[in-house]
């Protein structure tokens, strides 16, 4: 132990590798039949407070026949030490190597993690492909697998959709196939893979032909009332409670709406119980009520009104993210003003009525301006606004509308921080076949808006970032081959990622902008949304797009 501490002291934030956190669960290794390791592809500081990981950790450890441990991507100094053989990538709870586990689950919160997978596998000392039965079963899940085609070769199985029930069924299958070793013999592994492919929402490469997204009800017992308290302060330094899953709106560009559908609402009494119990158990000073559109949670007023006295008495701050630019959001914000200052961030995406009709998100500028005046009167000084550029069918006149609208909002007396996001067509949305904008045109548009809005803090990712995002989001097996064969690197910038693709003979801009207008889509075997419904939805606005 002393030697381990001495070694860890040479790395940045050593507590992140130490484990032994409050409420972490360490079960007896030998006495537990099935051992699962959940791996976060981001560093501890970002991933340790992940809600999805926390829910699965709770569900697996609630079973007497299984144990679940966690591990996160190491920071650069530790990665170098692991690659040079000085250190090992170990689980946090029992300090064991990933290979000792029966199942390894890697959550992919976004497609941006795809580039880190070769290096993550290398850190874990697990080959990216061609693994025999002596290796653990590698599974993946999370929103990043909505199009898993580019990483199909890395994993033995994918969970598409909600993991709560699918994970339980997978563990049952693993126990049923080869009790003590969890599928660690050739015959055991084959029967396990076949059993996994029979589970709804699970795709097994080489066996499954297609997969339909799975979803479950939000049952109270799935929710951890004592989530692990990280050893160090994390980016999400508060208690995160999911109030509902799914989104009642139908924005045509949004993949999350389709991935998390249908809308499932947590009953208000159950939600209040979870909030009070979790706060008492953990002692967090902040609370976040999260969902894709929290102000549209049907019982938001009732819940906020009943928790405010407790939060006020105990000095706990309340954050409601994902504010939709409409009256309900302002009412919600006004309610929590006595508690703490609220960060006001709205995402109208566009102020042009024509574009609003195309994307299916309506935010009349007159109403929005009126809301901004009310917010100013309530004492707010600044507001963040998110707009999208490069939407399908966008013309110069639409950009002018956005510029005019931002100028009007500034006249309300608020300091505006404007974030411009280049539109990235996503799989499983009505815009999945839309072609990507030209990067040069995009740079021109961004330059023009910045010129017109001098004095406004305008932020935006580079067009290269969006090109890479689009290439990964609508990637196919060709990209998968490159990822499988790429060296164990951690490319952080988009230009580094583009260089990797270029070196492998793939022009990222041309690949991202390839024609999807006809033929079969690479992700057609992943059935997240009804494809004919998506096509019908797109037909409604095709004339407007032109």
């Amino acid at each position: 132990m002393e030697k381990r501490i001495k070694n860890l002291l040479t790395y940045e934030r050593p507590a992140q590798y130490a484990g032994g956190e409050m409420f972490s669960i360490k079960k007896p290794w030998e006495a537990t039949a099935l051992k699962v390791l959940l791996v976060g592809p981001s560093v501890y500081q970002m991933g340790a407070s992940s809600l999805g990981l926390s829910i699965l950790y709770h569900i697996i450890n609630s079973r007497p026949d299984s144990l679940c441990e966690r591990a996160f991507m190491s920071e650069p100094d530790m990665r170098d030490a692991i690659f040079s053989g000085k250190e090992k990538f170990l689980s946090l709870e029992s300090g064991r190597a990933p290979r000792d586990f029966n199942i390894i689950g890697i959550t992919l919160p976004a497609k941006g993690c795809f580039f880190d997978l070769p290096a993550l596998f290398s850190l874990m000392a697990i080959p990216v492909s061609g693994r025999d039965e002596s290796y653990p079963v590698m599974i993946s899940g999370g929103p990043g697998v909505s199009n898993f085609i580019p990483v199909e070769g890395f994993f033995d199985a994918f969970i598409v959709g909600d993991g709560e029930e699918a994970m339980g069924k997978m563990l049952d299958a693993a126990l049923g196939c080869n009790t003590r070793r969890g599928g660690r013999s050739a015959t055991g592994r084959d029967s396990l893979m076949r059993a996994l492919s029979d589970i709804e929402g699970v795709f097994v490469p080489g066996i499954s032909k297609s997969v339909k997204k799975t979803f479950c009800s939000l049952r109270e017992e799935y929710y951890p009332l004592k989530p692990v308290i990280p050893n160090i302060r994390t980016l999400q330094d508060r208690l995160d409670i999911e109030v509902m899953r799914g989104c009642p709106n139908n924005c045509r560009f949004c993949e999350a709406k389709r991935f998390y559908a249908p809308v499932r609402v947590r009953p208000p009494d159950e939600l209040k119980k979870i909030i009070f119990d979790s706060l008492k158990n953990t002692g967090w000073k902040g609370l976040s009520l999260s969902s894709l559109s929290t102000p549209q949670y049907p019982h938001i007023s009732e819940v906020v009104e009943s928790i405010i006295p407790y939060l006020q008495k105990n000095g706990i701050s309340l954050q409601i993210p994902s504010l939709r630019p409409e009256r309900k959001s302002v009412d919600c914000v006004m309610k929590i003003l006595p508690l703490n200052q609220v960060n006001l961030t709205f995402a109208p995406e566009t102020f042009s009525p024509r574009m609003q009709e195309i994307i299916g998100k309506n935010t009349p500028i007159d109403e929005f301006e009126e809301m901004m005046r009310e917010i100013k009167t309530a004492g707010f000084r600044d507001v963040k606004i998110y707009l999208m550029i490069g939407l399908p069918g966008e013309r110069d006149a639409d950009i002018d509308e956005n510029i005019k609208a931002v100028k009007r909002i500034r006249k309300a007396g608020l300091k505006v921080t404007l974030t411009l996001s280049p539109f990235v067509p996503a799989a499983h949305t009505p815009f999945e076949r839309v072609s990507l904008w030209d990067p040069c045109e995009m740079d021109e548009k961004l330059k023009r808006i910045k010129m017109e809005l001098r004095g406004v803090d305008v932020r935006h990712p580079s067009s290269e970032d969006a090109v890479v995002e689009s290439a990964l989001g609508r990637g196919d097996a060709r990209l998968g081959k490159i990822l499988l064969n790429m060296p164990a690197l951690f490319p952080e910038s988009s230009s580094a990622k583009m260089k990797i693709l270029r070196d492998a003979g793939l022009d990222a801009a041309r690949y991202a902008g390839r024609d999807f207008s006809g033929g079969e889509l690479p992700w057609e075997k992943i059935k997240i949304a009804d494809r004919s419904g998506l096509e019908k939805d797109f037909e409604q606005v095709r004339a407007l797009i032109g």
Binding site: K6, L9, P14, A15, M22, G315
Partner: protein
């Protein structure tokens, strides 16, 4: 209002946790106790507590303390048991005592370090460091007491 000094140890894996992160854990532990503390009057209602000087990373201690103020007194061993039950693993409460009047601040800390010499038994070296002197102490060492 009563003043309580909580003495705790910081050992094991927790020595890898820095001072600010340790203070976050203590603040959360105080909230978990459910005791009625004196707080600030701002939005955050911060529990007012004074802690012992920061411990270097990697150094153990058996004499860390925090001074808190309770709005009301609690009978018997409730105060100790609430603290002992809610501190995280690695921070173990040794004792709680009620302080009357002003507690004098520590001026120096005494550290013990085990050194091994070839052919000899391990020897314990004691060192007293006055705060602000700029002297540094590093792993492996144990803070054993404060000089008032």
């Amino acid at each position: 209002m009563i003043k309580v000094r909580v003495t705790y140890s910081k050992r094991g894996r927790f020595v890898l946790t820095g001072h600010l992160d340790t203070m976050m854990h203590i603040d959360m532990a105080l909230r978990r106790t459910g005791l009625h503390f004196v707080t600030g009057q701002g939005y955050k209602r911060k529990i007012k507590f004074a802690s012992s000087p920061a411990l270097p990373l990697g150094v153990e201690s058996v004499c860390e303390y925090i001074d808190v103020k309770l709005v009301e007194d609690y009978p018997g061993g409730i105060i100790f048991s609430r603290f002992a039950d809610n501190f995280p693993p690695g921070l173990d409460v040794i004792k709680t005592e009620i302080i009357n009047g002003k507690a004098p601040p520590p001026k120096a800390a005494v550290y013990e370090k085990k050194l091994k010499f070839l052919g000899l038994f391990p020897r314990v070296i004691r060192k007293t460091i006055v705060f602000g002197s700029g002297e540094k102490i590093s792993f492996p060492a144990v803070r054993v007491k404060f000089k008032i």
